[in-house]
Symmetry: C2
Subunit: 465 residues, 2 copies
């Protein structure tokens, strides 16, 4: 046994030397670090069609302007209720859809008339983006903004392109692109710092005939996260909307960008976006996956509020499982929440979020023991026998994802026993298992690129896990 | 001589009996009567592109949304100045382009966001249509509203049709039509009575895949004039934008409607819209021609203000000639005036309008003598020899345009001499001629449908005619 470990140790040192020299692991930016530490982010989805009284059919809404935007009349609108709900549930980041696919912008714009100025509501003076930002500051939530440019039913834009042909289309595309640039400039310039800006489906760049939003980002939000276009993508979509990724899901990716969903390159599209899910340990770009799902996604898939759909709110146990398979798999879990037509996050959703947050706290706030350290082995010893059923591992990813192979072992009366044999740790790896009585646990890093930096190695004895 | 006239008289009586029974001449509605009495109407043209700093090229603006609508910032906007200028110049009606081809609406709309609400100007509370209506009331000008639905660069609508294909186009057309109906309803419902509503290029009707604006008109503006769609046209375009029609220009027309410019039926399009110019004495529809021209149309054709174009304001003598060939040819003269980017009708335009109004007054306010009467002959006798050089004839068109053939004669030392042999009188016929010294003048109606009803037969001795 010991000799085998010595051999492994030698091998690891060899790897340190060889691979450390050959291969620099990609390092996240400070903003990506913060993002990975977020763990729980809410995507707050609202758009004009929520108010149209019809069940949302995305492909219809994409090509059909909303009949009457003044159906937007949330009488009990309470932004603090939204953000407090998220804060109470343990969310660290919230991202608001200032525009989705109808083309309406939930701010005061001087670049597109299809914005809050057009509304009777609050006499055209409302600014939900402003309220959102203020409330995030009030409750200590990192604010993000989601901007839809790919689909715009109001302007007749379909997959980035205006409909029509010839000079008409050429002029209109130019107009649309400039309008988007101006709107983006407003959002980036007039609302302070954003923790993340999210161009859904990506943002076409000038080379693709699209607006130049990245330059505006670079100028006005240099310390934010950019998601995404073909030039830059600070994170990647996790390849499904299940709120999970498989294990392992590496934070690194072999391409500079992912492309937009169905128009991604075939290596990315292959096997139902497998590469987005797993990433690539040898990828040159730090671009961690996001696990996204609508809270109302259990037997349905409602990113946007519909009446009488409380029954599809994920049950608590499913959300907890989702957490293990997202945050516990080195990704941020992005849960879609959606205010109702009354202007608040519905009570059943708030309740479930709170239950979820409480349950996560209950499961993770009190480890039996935590250690950190660097190198190939970390051990935790107990004075007495200790029941455990959960382990959390975190790399110090400010040094990059270094670990490639590891084992977790527990020491019982019969000696050391394997608990888990893994590959990726990354920002966070969580493993739960049947109750095991141990006197010690140890993490052995069998392969890594450079010396592994373990920020946290915690073991838990969760009751009713 | 006498026997010839007796014969004519007999013939006329025969015609009375025969044709009166066979052919009822079309009778104008009270609104059309009022319109014909207007004589001078101003079409006040404004649109967002006036502010874009570029020379207006209609076919470009039709397909290119205005880059920045907040360039609209008329710092010395003064609606009273507009309307007082028109009043002072003798205009009786003013028609304002609440929308032209950019798609922007100069009112507070809850149906299209591309309206005054979108502007920084007056903090989005401005309503030029409201101001226009109020000022017209203040100065006793009949208010009209011009609504563009055929071209809409903002929504990508080209000759009534949204650009694009398939379901996208179908849904978008439906949206556009409904939006137009809602906007029209606002304009008809929220601003009181309009003397005339003008859908330029016509308004497509539901049968043509367009909005149903006529029903809204019937419901909300039953006492207004409707111009125009395929179901109804209370007047017709005079077939040119020269501010004139040829003689004769009958107030009657053989078709229910005219169609829109280049898409009119071929009988109407033929010979450069000859039928629009002349009308048809046997037409079943009372639908008098309008003679329209931009005030800035002399060596240019600017319906919309451009900087440094004062030199193309029609000279006074051309305007006076235009009056003779429009009002004097049984049509209303519609002069296009256009406020500048400062928000006022420019001083040179105001000055020219005033000169024009004064000159028309000078020429027409003091006839040597006026008579009226019915039947086939009307005479004016002078105590002494009288110099004359102008005659005005008016039928009482509330009874229809009855006269088909007439002669004007003056009695000199040598007996009766022909001054003019004509066909149409209609609302107004003006004839000017070289100075003639007469002791009497007479109008002989040689043919008419029913008994001719001469509302006015005036002779003038205009100095410096």
């Amino acid at each position: 046994m010991n000799s085998r470990y010595l051999l492994t140790l030698s091998l690891i040192f060899t790897l340190f030397v060889n691979m450390g020299a050959q291969h620099q692991v990609p390092i996240p930016t400070p903003e990506q670090l913060q993002w990975q530490n977020t763990e729980l982010a809410a995507l707050v989805c609202w758009d004009m069609h929520v108010f149209d009284g019809e069940f949302y059919v995305q492909k219809e809404v994409r090509i059909t302007p909303v009949k009457d935007y003044n159906t937007f009349d949330p009488k009990n609108y309470d932004m603090d209720q939204w953000i407090k709900s998220l804060k109470d549930a343990g969310f660290k980041t919230a991202i608001f859809t200032v525009s989705h696919e109808t083309g309406f912008f939930f701010h005061q714009s001087n670049a597109t008339p299809y914005c809050m100025k057009a509304l009777k509501w609050q006499e055209g003076k409302g600014d939900i983006l402003r309220d959102f930002k203020a409330s995030c500051e009030k409750y200590g939530i990192l604010p993000g903004v989601y901007i839809g440019t790919r689909w715009n039913a109001f302007y007749g834009v379909h997959d980035f392109k205006v409909e029509g042909v010839g000079t008409f289309a050429e002029h209109r595309q130019q107009y649309y692109n400039t309008m988007i640039e101006n709107v983006v400039e407003e959002i980036f310039a007039n609302y302070g710092d954003w923790a993340i800006v999210w161009f859904d489906g990506g943002a076409h760049s000038p080379e693709q005939g699209g607006p130049d939003v990245l330059s505006i980002f670079d100028k006005l939000q240099p310390n934010s996260l950019f998601y995404h276009n073909l030039q830059r993508s600070d994170m990647r979509w996790g390849g499904s909307e299940t709120g999970t990724v498989p294990y392992p899901s590496w934070g690194t990716f072999p391409y500079l960008s992912t492309g937009a969903g169905e128009s991604a390159k075939k290596e990315i599209r292959a096997n139902n976006y497998q590469l987005l899910k797993t990433g690539d340990p040898n990828g040159n770009y730090y671009m961690p996956a996001m696990s996204d799902a609508p809270l109302r996604g259990h037997g349905g898939h409602d990113w946007f509020w519909e009446p009488n759909r409380e029954d599809i709110i994920y049950p608590l146990d499913k959300l907890v499982k989702m957490y293990y398979n997202s945050v516990g798999h080195n990704t941020t879990l992005i849960l879609g929440v959606t205010p109702n037509t009354d202007g608040i996050i519905p009570e059943p959703d708030v309740k479930r979020l709170k239950e979820f947050g409480d349950e996560i706290k209950r499961r993770f706030d009190s480890p039996v023991k935590s250690v950190s350290g660097e190198g190939y082995q970390l051990s935790i010893k107990f004075a007495n026998k200790q029941n455990i059923n959960q382990v959390v591992l975190m790399e110090d990813i400010s040094k990059g994802e270094r670990v490639r192979k590891f084992i977790l072992e527990g020491k019982t009366k019969g000696g050391w026993h394997m608990i888990f044999e893994g590959s990726c740790i990354g920002n966070k790896f969580i493993h739960r298992f049947d109750d095991k009585e141990v006197s010690a646990v140890r993490l052995k890093v069998l392969e890594s690129i450079g010396k592994s930096q373990i920020l946290e190695f915690s073991v838990y004895d969760v009751t009713n896990p």
